[in-house]
């Protein structure tokens, strides 16, 4: 990728977007009938499928039961054909385990778990095609799936990955930008109150730029939340037409 500029002089990125432009988000809810809630979301070329089972009785170790709230159990996995190089193990490696923990942390902040003590909510996310922004696509898909399952949440959880290049924050990174040495920051936001559910960055960034980057991430997340809201309302309309209300 030598010679390809992540941000050209005219302000265009590798795929022709401007610095603050998000990729196209397309989503569908209720794709599987057997699960309690399911959703499929595409953010550019990254495709994620989220499935929610629950709330149901604790499975497995009863000792993990929480007496006053529900336990959220997440699993993140990638299809073996999702990346350019074929992935040998779909889940169980360190990266997937870390992502699962992040998802759990994110949704514990948003789902109203006190309403379901001693029970368990399972959220399973599968990446079908990976082109950068895996974590954010997962969170967005899982939000829709939790809504489809009818589990009450405080607010939508929207996530976005932003990067910093040439003094400019870039919103919604694709794989080429993520691997091109950009300092990337992942943010999960509850848009109405501006509450941050998860903030993660593991690259070098000067502290003067941190605030600009977080602001850019929050704006991008608010943009995503508008799209998700639109998807939910449309799905509700379709469903109510079918049930004759």
């Amino acid at each position: 990728m030598a010679g390809l500029e992540l941000l050209s002089d005219q302000g265009y990125r590798l795929d022709g977007r401007k610095a603050t432009e998000l990729r196209k988000v397309q989503a569908r809810m209720g794709v599987f009938a057997q699960a309690d809630g399911s959703a499929y979301l595409e953010q550019g070329n990254t495709k994620a499928l989220a499935v929610v089972y629950g709330p149901h009785e604790m499975r497995g170790s009863r000792s993990r039961t929480l007496h006053d709230r529900a336990l959220i159990n997440c699993q993140y996995s990638m299809a073996t054909f999702s990346t350019a190089e074929r992935k040998r193990r779909p889940h169980g490696d360190r990266k997937s385990t870390e992502m699962s923990l992040h998802l759990k942390q994110t949704f514990e902040a948003a789902v109203m778990t006190q309403l379901y003590p001693r029970s368990q909510i399972d959220i399973y996310v599968k990446i079908l095609q990976s082109d950068g922004g895996n974590y954010s696509t997962c969170v967005n898909a899982a939000t829709l799936a939790v809504i489809d399952a009818g589990i009450p949440m405080r607010d939508y959880v929207c996530a976005c990955t932003v990067g910093f290049v040439d003094e400019t924050p870039l919103a919604d990174l694709c794989y080429a930008e993520e691997s091109g040495g950009v300092s990337s920051l992942a943010l999960a936001l509850l848009p109405r109150g501006g509450q941050i559910a998860l903030l993660q960055m593991d690259a070098r960034l000067h502290q003067d730029h941190l605030e600009t980057l977080i602001e850019a991430a929050m704006t991008a997340c608010k943009g995503v939340s508008k799209v998700l809201d639109e998807v939910v309302r449309q799905h509700l309309q379709e469903v109510s037409v079918l049930t004759g209300e």
Binding site: F32, N45, Q75, A79, T80, Y124
Partner: protein, 284 residues
């Protein structure tokens, strides 16, 4: 497979219904559920297909890679199967729960394709003894409602039909070493002949009758099942009995007769393929 709890009364109801050729969802004993096949679903694979058979959904992605041929057959490529029973299908498959079923399914697939006629492996050879195409067939189980073998075999056939393998040119450089060049044109590719790719038909013995395309509930009432993989010409490539009960030999012969009448399914499968647009459905 993922199991459902079926009460005794429900079992009796299902058994009596099947005895009179009427299943719970109104089908006859030899009818398949509504099937939808869609190809070209995942864009960064060389071939892909998604099959929905009632509530069972399977996604297959094929990636072609250049590798070294097996020592015993230096002028053939090969296929590698991997079945991923994901937690999406049922929470029992979380973590390592789905590994056992996945291994069983992929071992059966190896047996089904382990013959000279299903896929023309010689066309996958680039340079005998040194380079060949290896097709990694990855099966992803999205939803599980019985009859996994059939859905998987149909999806693999559709995905192999959809696979585009780029053409290669071998050139020798100055020191005599071989260089492989892939053509730059994305449309300059080789397609596979999938006429002889077998389809698997599963028959479950419920009571004294045999049913095709059993749902999980019917499977819970059945004694054992027989899977036969058959090509459209009628050649059988693999036969297997699965399940905890025992079958007597007359049952097996009856089932084989029934399989003959069901293999017309495999004839119609490879005629249907249309590039899909995301997850919009195309039905058969």
């Amino acid at each position: 497979m993922a199991t459902v709890q079926v009460s005794e009364a429900e079992k009796v109801y299902i058994l009596h219904g099947i005895r009179d050729d009427l299943r719970v969802d109104g089908r006859g004993c030899e009818d398949y559920r509504h099937m939808e096949i869609e190809t070209d679903v995942v864009s960064n694979t060389d071939g892909s297909a998604k099959v929905t058979l009632g509530h069972t959904a399977v996604l297959v992605g094929i990636k072609a890679d250049i590798g070294k041929p097996r020592p015993l057959v230096p002028n053939e490529g090969y296929l590698e199967f991997f079945v991923d029973c994901s937690a999406n299908a049922t929470p029992e498959f979380e973590g390592r729960g789905g590994e056992e079923l996945g291994t069983e399914l992929s071992n059966t697939l190896y047996k089904v394709f382990n013959n000279k006629h299903s896929v023309d492996l010689k066309s996958l050879c680039i340079c005998p003894g040194e380079h060949c195409w290896v097709l990694y067939v990855d099966v992803l189980l999205l939803q599980c409602d019985g009859n996994l073998y059939d859905a998987i075999s149909i999806a693999i056939k559709a995905a192999l039909f959809n696979t585009k393998i780029p053409r290669v040119r071998i050139s020798t450089d100055e020191e005599g070493g071989k260089e492989i060049e892939l053509s730059d044109d994305p449309y300059d590719c080789m397609r596979l002949n999938v006429e002889n790719v077998p389809c698997i038909v599963t028959l479950c013995k419920v009571g004294h009758r045999h049913v095709v395309d059993a749902t999980l509930q019917e499977k819970a009432c059945s004694v054992a099942s027989l899977i036969i993989s058959v090509t459209h010409k009628g050649t059988v490539t693999c036969t297997r009995k699965v399940g905890g009960g025992s079958l007597d030999s007359e049952s097996i012969f009856e089932m084989t007769e029934l399989h003959h009448s069901c293999f017309t399914l495999s004839e119609s499968i490879h005629l249907l393929s249309r590039p899909g647009s995301g997850w919009s459905s195309t039905s058969t």
